[in-house]
């Protein structure tokens, strides 16, 4: 689908953030959410890969390394569809501002890096409308990587892209994998009209720009909570 929720006549609006792990996008959407809530607006926040039913299958698959690029893609699409149809669509029909930490572009980037044909992945997700605003937090790759890797976290198999066989070292694999995802994001920037944010600036500077952009683009006063 190439239409936004506004194009489709939904009263609600969907704002998505995309970017690498460690780009600071979650912080930014959290601060945006707080601001909108404080203004007394109808806000809902949704995370990628969080529906209970599909979670059990995903974690089983990940644990046992049963997933191939195609099943990895499909199981996340199933999860997204569940959230989309049961949660996002009804809220958007009810006139909510829906904030999504990652949207279909995360799948486009990851699945294509794993080898799925871009046209196939886009087709699978074509039931979903485009966000009204997509912020892409463009960070220096090294900065994002270090933010994650400096804490020496336990990287999950798929998170590190270990299934791609890029390196036997999870940290090295993660670096290469994230680099490729970054390239996909850059390639999608124009295609999907991302609002590119310089994620190397101060948190407050970025948040100021995010709030300003949202204010200008969406007539926020219409989203007040009905008392």
């Amino acid at each position: 689908m190439t239409h936004t929720f506004a194009d489709l006549g939904f009263p609600g609006r969907l704002i998505a953030v995309e970017g690498l792990d460690g780009s600071g996008k979650s912080t930014q959407i959290y601060l945006l959410k707080r601001w909108l809530e404080m203004r007394g607006l109808k806000v809902f926040f949704s995370e990628w890969n969080s529906s209970a039913l599909v979670k059990s299958a995903t974690s089983k698959g990940k644990k046992q390394n049963l997933l191939t690029p195609t099943t990895f893609s499909l199981i996340h699409a199933t999860d997204f569809a569940d959230r989309y149809e049961r949660q996002l669509l009804p809220l958007l029909k009810a006139g909510y501002l829906v904030l999504c930490d990652r949207y279909i572009y995360t799948a486009f980037a990851r699945d294509v890096v794993r080898g799925c044909p871009p046209a196939w992945v886009r087709g699978v997700y074509s039931f979903a409308a485009r966000p009204d605003i997509t912020f892409f937090f463009r960070s220096h790759l090294e900065v994002s990587l270090n933010r994650i890797l400096d804490n020496r976290p336990t990287l999950k198999h798929h998170e590190a892209g270990m299934d791609l066989g890029l390196s036997t070292d999870p940290y090295e694999s993660f670096r290469i994998f994230q680099g490729r995802i970054f390239e996909q994001y850059l390639a999608m920037s124009t295609e999907f009209d991302f609002v590119v944010m310089d994620a190397n600036r101060r948190i407050e500077e970025q948040q100021g720009l995010v709030r300003k952009f949202v204010e200008d683009r969406i007539g926020l006063e219409t989203y007040a909570v009905v008392k």
């Binding site: 299958a57 089983k60 698959g61 690029p69 195609t70 199933t78 569809a81 149809e85 044909p117 087709g123």
Partner: protein
């Protein structure tokens, strides 16, 4: 000494002849964009699909075909819907509760299918086995089409699937089907009656309406994908003899009735 097709048919599985026919390798292809990293030229086995509603005799025919194929010296693998190790339990739970919306359920089934395709069907075909699929993407597509899903979306989704070497749709009229179901069990199944569509509150009516929509849609897909419609209102033996004959032709490399990518 090679067995001729004719002789093999006449003698069936009760064949004392020790010679075994080596199936002719024929080219494979995907319906659409396919799966990453699959070398189609390495798939030396055959994929045979049996489609049909519950009560069409599908399971009985498959059991008999497997026996016959094994007796004829072919390694055989059976696969079916909702049998993947990845999501079959979750799918069952979701169906019981009837809590998933259309696109989600559809993608859930596609995940189950893809898992079996990659982890069971393709490895068996690489090893040169005959894979007998108890339903395939056609049933999945027909179910979704009857429920109003977009055909282009489904075609893209199942573009990952391999075009089978033979597809048999066991066709039985809904009014005969309902009798067969009752002869076997006491009640109609919620999903096989299409109760989720809200066609009728009356389960019997709903079953007939739903099954006739399924049949119409199968016929429409048949014109697109060119599979074989088998009159399954005949006796089990007659149907089985026809299936064997056709499978023998496929094993011999006859491509004249080969299904298409649509």
């Amino acid at each position: 000494m090679k067995r001729t097709t004719k002789r093999n048919t006449r003698r069936g599985s009760a064949n004392d002849d020790p010679s075994v026919l080596v199936p002719k390798v024929t080219p494979k292809r995907f319906f659409g964009l396919g799966l990453p990293g699959v070398d189609l030229e390495k798939l030396s086995g055959k994929l045979v699909v049996v489609e049909g509603a519950d009560g069409s005799g599908r399971s009985t025919q498959i059991v008999r075909l497997v026996q016959w194929l094994e007796a004829s010296g072919h390694h055989t693998l059976q696969v079916g819907l909702k049998r993947s190790s990845l999501v079959s339990e979750e799918l069952e739970t979701a169906q019981q509760g009837n809590i998933l919306s259309r696109t989600t359920l559809s993608l859930f089934y596609a995940t189950d299918f893809a898992d079996q395709l990659e982890n069971n069907i393709l490895p068996a075909l690489r090893a040169g086995s005959i894979v007998i699929a108890d339903r395939y993407i056609y049933t999945l597509m027909v179910r979704d089409l009857v429920r109003g899903m977009d055909e282009d979306w489904l075609r893209n989704l199942y573009g990952i699937a391999l075009v089978p070497d033979a597809v048999f749709y066991l066709e039985v009229r809904p009014e005969i089907l309902v009798q067969r179901v009752f002869a076997k069990q006491q009640a109609l199944d919620y999903w096989e009656s299409g109760m989720d569509l809200g066609l009728s509150r009356d389960m019997f009516d709903s079953f007939l309406q739903y099954q006739s929509r399924m049949r119409d849609t199968f016929r429409r897909l048949q014109r697109r994908y060119g599979f074989d419609i088998i009159d399954a209102e005949r006796s089990m033996d007659e149907v089985n003899a026809e299936l064997r004959q056709r499978i023998e032709n496929v094993l011999a490399g006859d491509l004249s009735r080969q299904p298409t990518a649509g």
